[in-house]
């Protein structure tokens, strides 16, 4: 909601390439939690053949299989729109394969390093084992999000550079490296909690909204909060 506009512009990056694990959920929940607070929204689905607009408020980048991941990274780099948007201060929320490709570099299926979009100071490579299962992590206190829960399914291991900070410490599951999970830098945030990470963590969705619109009213707890509690209890 920059400048004079009063509409929150949500940009879904490449649903044709990076929508593998219910990534649509993040778009839907962000929109819903904004609208429940009377914030108007506009959602744009940007296909991999289209240019990425730079005037969005929140950019959502989903997960994908190995080959679509490489294609998406190449196209995003050639396009340049996502980087310009991030440089302008837009919020970016990227999960799984999306988390890896917004970093400085990531590994392909043979672990050759490939260049990322470079808006988050992380470097990912291929681990020896695949991390699959429920994951629980405690987000750094300054973000005011608390404990998060999700499902991870990836082989990446991610090292965080000096300009970024870990998003959380891992309580259960692997995340970046068994110790920390996710990373953020300004309003760019990446996580291995794949697919519907925002539906499962309403506080994380609200963090993105706060970044763009400032203070927001609390909502009456509903099924999202119940699911969050239930999954935490089941995982621990």
């Amino acid at each position: 909601m920059t400048d004079t506009s009063s509409t929150l512009r949500i940009v879904w990056i490449y649903p044709d390439l990076l929508s593998t694990y219910g990534d649509q959920g993040n778009v839907l929940i962000l929109r819903r939690r904004a609208e429940l607070r009377g914030i108007r929204t506009e959602t744009l689905h940007v296909h991999s053949s289209d240019p990425v607009p730079v005037e969005g408020d929140v950019y959502l980048v989903g997960g994908g299989e190995d080959r679509p991941q490489i294609l998406a990274a190449e196209r995003l780099r050639a396009d340049g729109g996502l980087k310009r948007a991030a440089d302008r201060g837009a919020a970016v929320f990227a999960v799984c394969a999306g988390y890896q490709i917004i970093g400085e570099s990531y590994g392909d299926d043979a672990d050759n390093p490939l260049p990322g979009v470079g808006i988050l100071d992380v470097r990912s490579s291929r681990g020896a084992t695949r991390a699959v299962g429920e994951i629980v992590a405690d987000v750094v206190p300054e973000l005011g999000v608390g404990r998060i829960t999700g499902f991870e399914n990836h082989q990446g291991r991610t090292a965080i550079g000096p300009s970024a900070r870990p998003l959380s410490t891992t309580v259960k599951g692997i995340g970046n490296d068994d110790a920390t999970e996710g990373a953020y830098q300004g309003q760019v945030l990446g996580t291995y909690l794949h697919g519907p990470a925002l539906p499962r963590n309403p506080a994380l969705a609200d963090l993105l909204l706060r970044w763009r619109v400032g203070e927001i009213a609390p909502l009456q707890p509903s099924w999202g909060e119940k699911l969050h509690e239930e999954r935490l209890a089941a995982a621990l």
Binding site: R32, S49, E65, P196, W223
Partner: protein, 418 residues
């Protein structure tokens, strides 16, 4: 089968023994354990058992059990058929199916997507039948782009005849690896896994449906000789003959399965006019599409395991006054990850009474709330029926859509109806 070497005969016999033991002790239908015992004794057993038979392998993400059943029914005129009717679709299940029918000259084998290249190599099938590929239980299944590539490579190395759905770009691309192909226009409702060119990654141009083509490398949908018309419930064969389907299985997904079955039967020399009545005899497959009458209410059971399957099930729901029960579990056979629920569009359920149950009903509840679909939480089907009955005494029908273990639980509650 007397030409089988002694060791293979022994292995097959041992396998059968283990299978009957497993059935007798109530530990399973025997299809897996029998094959497992036999494979230990003779690792080449599948190849040996397959030798001299005309085998069809049937693979897809959705519909392979039903299509295997339809093809088996259509081919019945040709004599005995070895088939894995219980859906044990990995090599051990194939061994059991073939060993059980040593004199059958024909085999129709449902084949797990991951195992298709291996089973193709070992059984040297006459025909490979491919219908669709989409996301499914991704916490343990292979990536589907990788799977399509493995199919394509395996087909390129074989002499088999592929019968494939040209409307699914991933399937078509895999099938284009084969030397001999029959292309069928069987339709594709779920398109979320095929917006990108399997060859180069370009964004596919997909209109008019079912045509597709890549503007970047030129890959395009192969021309088809068989097609299905869902609106008119007809099939057109390679002689441009139009035939009414009139199946007893519901929906477009089963029309797609049927046209593929007819094309496969034709490859075995069975004319579609002869095959069609055989397809119409099938009303339910391993409990799927079965109706149970309880408390005077007809409860129809629909099994759907992934987003493409849910989309197809939504399309066959009865009119809006018929309530629907959705049930989701996340046990190992279902996939532990429920993220896929967010890939499905539930807004089509608006205006219908919806109940949610199963171990992951809270996931469903949030999903429906987000799509603005009113719903009620429930524990069991019989309780829902009792509630409905007390509120609307004239109620006659309810539909149930459930994923794998949720479906099995409901089936068990109604005495494993067939």
């Amino acid at each position: 089968m007397s030409e089988l070497p002694l060791r293979a005969q022994l292995a097959a016999a041992l396998g059968k023994g283990a299978a009957s033991l497993s059935r007798a002790t109530g530990r399973g239908d025997g299809s897996v354990i029998g094959g497992r015992v036999a494979l230990k004794v003779e690792p080449d057993l599948l190849a040996k058992l397959a030798r001299g038979r005309r085998i069809a392998l049937v693979s897809a993400t959705n519909g392979k059990t039903t299509t295997t059943r339809l093809i088996t029914s259509a081919l019945r005129e040709l004599g005995g058929i070895a088939t894995n009717e219980h859906g044990a679709n990995m090599p051990t299940g194939h061994i059991t199916a073939l060993a059980k029918s040593p004199d059958a000259r024909i085999g129709v084998l449902e084949t797990d997507e991951k195992y298709l290249p291996q089973v193709l190599r070992e059984t040297k099938p006459a025909v490979v039948v491919l219908m669709n590929l989409s996301r499914d239980q991704m916490d343990r299944a292979s990536e589907i782009n990788l799977l399509a590539k493995k199919w394509r490579d395996a087909l390129a190395k074989s002499e088999t005849h592929v019968i494939a759905n040209a409307d699914d770009p991933l399937v078509a691309w895999a099938g284009l690896g084969a030397r001999y192909a029959t292309w069928v226009s069987a339709g594709q409702r779920w398109k979320e896994d095929s917006w990108c060119c399997p060859e180069c990654g370009g964004h596919l141009k997909r209109d008019p449906d079912p045509h597709w083509e890549c503007p970047e490398c030129g890959l395009r949908r192969p021309d088809t000789t068989w097609s299905v018309d869902n609106d008119n419930d007809t099939v057109t064969d390679p002689n441009a003959q139009e035939l009414k389907l009139q199946l007893n299985l519901p929906g477009d997904a089963n029309r797609a399965n049927a046209v593929i079955a007819l094309a496969t039967a034709a490859a075995y020399g069975i004319h579609p006019k002869q095959a069609l009545p055989r397809l119409r005899e099938i009303e339910s497959v391993a409990g799927r599409y079965t109706s149970v009458v309880t408390n005077g209410v007809e409860v129809r059971l629909l099994l759907s395991k992934n987003p493409a399957g849910w989309l197809e099930s939504f399309a066959v729901l009865d009119p809006p006054r018929v309530p629907v029960i959705l049930s989701v579990n996340a046990q190992i056979p279902d996939g532990k990850d429920t993220s896929w629920l967010w890939d499905v569009d539930y807004t089509v359920l608006k205006g219908r009474r919806v109940f949610v149950m199963g171990e992951r009903r809270t996931d469903l509840a949030l999903r429906l709330e987000t799509d603005g679909v009113p719903f009620e939480i429930a524990d069991r089907v019989d309780q829902i029926i009792a509630t409905l009955k007390s509120e609307q005494p004239d109620i006659t029908k309810v539909d149930v859509i459930a994923n794998y273990t949720a479906f099995q639980q409901i089936r068990t509650a109604y005495g494993r109806v067939q």
